[in-house]
């Protein structure tokens, strides 16, 4: 089964030696993509399966180079050893967190640099040493393995088929359809059981996606300071404030739907009425305060990121996730991006004390579209 890949490779080590450059055809360029002209050192006596390999290491053709390579590889391993010791010392020597007297962030960073650089050097030096060993100290020997067609021999296939059919016949599975069918039926409920067990993973959605915690009279308070607002608190036109329903500051589930942005316009800038249902403008209603303050859901109608960026000059609200852009002066209708619906508007008014309150819940579902939304 042996095959000679290179006539000159009588000694498998010959292919390694640099002097073989002389064999390169004179004056030639190497054709890109082809192997270097150095012949492949292929084991000329590739071992038969039941034969001992005789590609034993022999003395290197260039003992000086081999000795040098050995020294460099050993140096790499010594460096790896030293770096490994440094890692252990750095772990003990550089305290972090509660045990560290100074600035914890600086301490964590210092420890990270010390541990990381020592570990990195140790691993890279180990890798480099191993590479030098295998590339410069190990003779480059290739062997050949034969492939066999993967398909089994026809007689094996036939024998398998026969044995299989015999086994099946012994059980009588073909002769006894009653047994076969009842067994299959028996497994059906068990196969469904795991799906059944998953039912209690969560409650059914019901109509929960259609409502938020806003109710008529709920005061809008600032997200940061939980301060109720009067129209005068809105400041100069162009300002945008994120507000939440009063009393729900610790309820993330409520806030994930109920976040609202208030935007103040100069008189005449806001096109009222502003109420859109999807893309259709609903006439005859006015949910703004003084025709200058308007409240929109902060939850993007695309996939639910909080909209955040507001450009005063164009009155555009931008969602930073996928850049859906809404025109705040015109019912938060979509002017660009993947969101398909306007930001729902919260009916806004003032209560007896003059604070900004919701006149009702949102009249349409906030946030991303869903199948049952309609």
């Amino acid at each position: 089964m042996s095959e000679t890949h290179d006539p000159s490779a009588g000694n498998p080590l010959e292919g390694l030696a640099p002097q073989h450059e002389a064999e390169e055809p004179s004056g030639s360029r190497r054709v890109i993509g082809t192997p270097s002209p150095t012949p492949r050192a292929v084991d000329t006596k590739a071992p038969a399966p039941d034969e001992s390999p005789d590609y034993l290491p022999t003395d290197p053709s260039d003992p000086v180079a081999a000795k040098n390579a050995e020294r460099v590889a050993a140096l790499c391993f010594l460096v790896a050893f030293a770096a490994g010791v440094c890692f252990l010392i750095a772990y003990i020597g550089l305290e972090v967190g509660p045990y560290n007297s100074g600035n914890s962030v600086v301490a964590a960073l210092r420890s990270n640099y010390a541990l990381g650089s020592s570990l990195g050097v140790a691993l890279l030096a180990l890798g480099l040493g191993s590479m030098i060993w295998v590339r410069h100290l190990t003779p480059n020997i290739e062997i050949e393995e034969h492939r066999h067609v993967l398909k089994s021999e026809p007689q094996d296939r036939d024998a398998f088929k026969k044995d299989f059919a015999t086994g099946a016949a012994i059980t009588g599975i073909t002769k006894r359809p009653l047994l076969r069918r009842t067994m299959l039926i028996a497994t059906a409920p068990l196969a469904l059981a795991p799906l059944w067990l998953l039912r209690d993973l969560g409650p059914l959605p019901g109509t929960s996606l259609r409502h938020t915690v806003w109710k008529a009279g709920t005061r809008a308070v600032t997200l940061g300071g939980l301060r109720p607002l009067t129209p005068a608190d809105m400041g100069s036109p162009g300002s945008l404030i994120t507000v939440i329903p009063e009393g729900f500051q610790d309820d993330d589930d409520a806030l994930a739907k109920a976040g609202v942005i208030l935007i103040k316009f100069a008189p005449g800038q806001l096109h009222v009425p502003t109420i859109f249902d999807g893309k259709t403008q609903l006439y005859g209603m006015n949910w703004t305060v003084d025709n200058t303050i308007v409240a929109y859901s902060k939850i993007c109608t695309h996939v639910g990121c909080p909209v955040a960026l507001y450009e005063q000059t164009t009155h555009h609200i931008l969602c930073p996730c996928h850049q859906s852009t809404f025109d705040a002066s015109n019912g938060a209708n979509v002017v660009f991006g993947p969101a398909a619906r306007a930001l729902p508007q919260l009916p806004l008014g003032t209560n007896a004390e003059g604070f900004l309150v919701a006149l009702s819940d949102f009249t349409q579902p906030v946030g991303p579209s869903f199948w049952e939304r309609g």
Partner: protein, 555 residues
């Protein structure tokens, strides 16, 4: 060398004997030791993925000793004083503790994150190598399918992993994930409520993601990697076209000791590189993002690189939504979620079978193709890369807009056009380049290599010397195999009847596909070895290799 060196030390001999007495392993282990590993740089790409996975298991196990997968609120009073007194989840608190209070914790976190990114880079690069060299062909289709499944699982594993710390950025990612789930027709709302244990965000999602991330998906990945390696072992490696390599053999270095040493070196290099990256290149500094709150967001929120294609797909999409019979079909979420990855993954899974169908090639292939020798495949591969690349870049459109001062909407519009134009263009350009390279190969085979020595003939003419290709070069350059033509609809047999297989819509489609696969460059017959014999005076040969094509569509 003397036999002294090849003796087994008595102690080792004893242990080995003890094991073999019980397991009968000597014969099998010998086969394993002599397993041949062909040598080519591109064969190491899959190995990067393997070692990255090992590093992920090591660092991940360490992190799980300290991470608390719980959404229960706590007030932070730890080492990172900027967040002192802030209410946060235990998941986020324990991530801060890993980063600031545990020696080596930050390093392990960052190695873990970098290794995850490298894992997916390596899988994708390995997959491209296998595709472009045709290494997925019979008998390796099953391993190709396993590899694609591993890529998909790897993406999911990464997404769930970086969602665990419950920081502002990962929370935004989860919000998007939930919004996408909701958009799935009929079952979407239920899926979202069951996964999150009710309305978003709830408190169930973190422990659920955790067990999926540390047990379910890694278990699947481990099992599939094992299958991947066993199948590779059983079917033996492919090899590059080289002198001495045939379809009947596999030539390379034996597992023991060469691959052991090389694998060891490669593992330490990869581990070392990841440690250096993790030390000096900060990744996912969750303490800067703050704990997750549903109403905060930062601009330029970018996911990890492998999710960029989904992010870009969402951003490129125009606002399409259909309302009918009280239901909403939100195409602006569904299409980005399902179509681009669907095209890539389904396309990749079906490709080996499509190619077999179109070429009629049912042979086993163990010698890899050079990409130029399969112009259709290479063209399709580059088109897929372009498709992926456009969407991936669009995922960072806000960054491009910021850095290049181009309006954001302009970039998105460019991408909306580019997603159709660039892949199609890439296909045709690549195919042409492949045929051009084939032409160059044909010239090399027939005329040899110009060696840069120019002679002036007595009549004043300048000629350049060339030499014939060496055996080694010829083995590579002449490795092209062209599929055989299958029956075309236009072809009639001697009775004027078209071949049955070419009938009907499928038959015609197969004919068209087959013609595309047949397009090749002839190797200038009749000019085989001749030129080397005349001192290589391959002069003024104006003849060009002819392009043959069954198709009327010439270039």
């Amino acid at each position: 060398m003397s036999d002294e060196l090849v003796k087994i030390p008595p102690a080792l001999d004893g242990v080995g004997g003890w094991i073999d007495d019980r397991f009968h392993l000597a014969g099998g282990a010998r086969v394993l030791m002599k397993k041949v590993f062909p040598d080519h740089w591109s064969f190491m790409l899959g190995e990067i993925a393997l070692w990255s996975f090992v590093i992920l298991l090591l660092t991940g196990t360490y992190l799980s000793l300290f991470f608390v997968p719980s959404a229960s609120p706590v007030v932070y009073h730890g080492s990172y004083t900027k967040l002192d007194g802030i209410t946060m989840s235990q998941a986020y608190q324990s991530t801060l503790n890993i980063s600031f209070d545990i020696r080596g914790g930050l390093l392990m976190r960052q190695i873990h994150h970098w290794a995850a990114d490298l894992f997916l880079v390596a899988i994708l690069a390995h997959m491209l190598r296998v595709f472009f060299t045709g290494a997925y062909r019979k008998p390796r289709e099953v391993n190709w399918l396993i590899g694609i499944t591993l890529l998909l699982l790897g993406m999911l594993e990464g997404l769930f992993g970086y969602s665990l710390p419950d920081d502002q950025l990962s929370g935004a990612g989860l919000r998007i994930f939930e919004g996408v789930l909701q958009g799935i027709p009929i079952v979407g709302t239920y899926l979202a409520f069951f996964l999150f244990g009710g309305a978003y965000p709830g408190t169930a999602i973190i422990p659920r993601l955790y067990i999926i991330h540390v047990l379910l998906i890694p278990g699947l990945i481990l099992g599939l990697i094992t299958a991947h390696l066993f199948i590779m072992f059983h079917q033996k490696h492919t090899q590059m076209p080289m002198k001495g390599n045939t379809e009947k053999n596999v030539v390379g270095q034996p597992f023991w000791p060469y691959f052991m040493l090389k694998g060891q070196a490669w593992f330490f290099f990869i581990f070392g590189a990841l440690v250096v990256l993790a030390t000096f290149a900060q990744i996912n500094p969750v303490w800067l993002y703050g704990p997750y709150t549903p109403l905060a967001i930062s601009s330029a929120s970018q996911p990890d690189w492998y999710m960029g294609i989904l992010e870009g797909s969402l951003r490129i999409m125009p606002a399409w939504e259909i309302n009918f019979l009280g239901h909403t079909l939100t195409l602006s979420v569904l299409i980005p979620f399902a179509v681009p990855l669907g095209i890539i993954f389904t396309g990749a899974m079906l490709w080996p079978f499509f190619e077999q169908w179109a070429t009629g090639d049912r042979q086993e292939h163990h010698i890899n193709d050079r990409p130029r020798n399969a112009p259709v495949r290479t063209g399709v591969g580059v088109a897929a890369m372009a498709f992926y690349g456009v969407l991936w870049a669009e995922g960072a459109n806000d960054v491009f807009a910021d850095k290049l001062s181009i309006p954001l909407y302009t970039i998105t519009w460019i991408a909306r056009v580019a997603i159709f134009v660039i892949p199609i263009g890439a296909y045709f350009v690549t195919k042409r380049i492949c045929l051009g390279l084939q032409r160059k190969d044909a010239e090399l085979l027939s005329h040899g290599v110009e060696i840069g020595i120019i002679h002036q003939l007595p009549n004043g003419e300048f000629v350049e010397e060339s030499r014939p290709l060496t055996e080694e070069e010829r083995a590579v350059v002449g490795s092209k195999q062209v599929p055989e033509a299958i029956a075309q609809p236009a072809q009639l047999d001697e009775n004027g009847i078209p071949a049955p297989a070419s009938k009907g819509l499928m038959g015609r489609a197969r004919g068209i596909a087959n013609r595309a696969f047949l397009e090749t460059v002839d190797e200038a017959p009749g000019h085989g070895n001749g030129h080397g014999d005349h001192e290589g005076h391959a002069v003024g040969e104006a003849e060009h290799a002819a392009v043959t094509s069954g198709d009327s569509d010439q270039h």
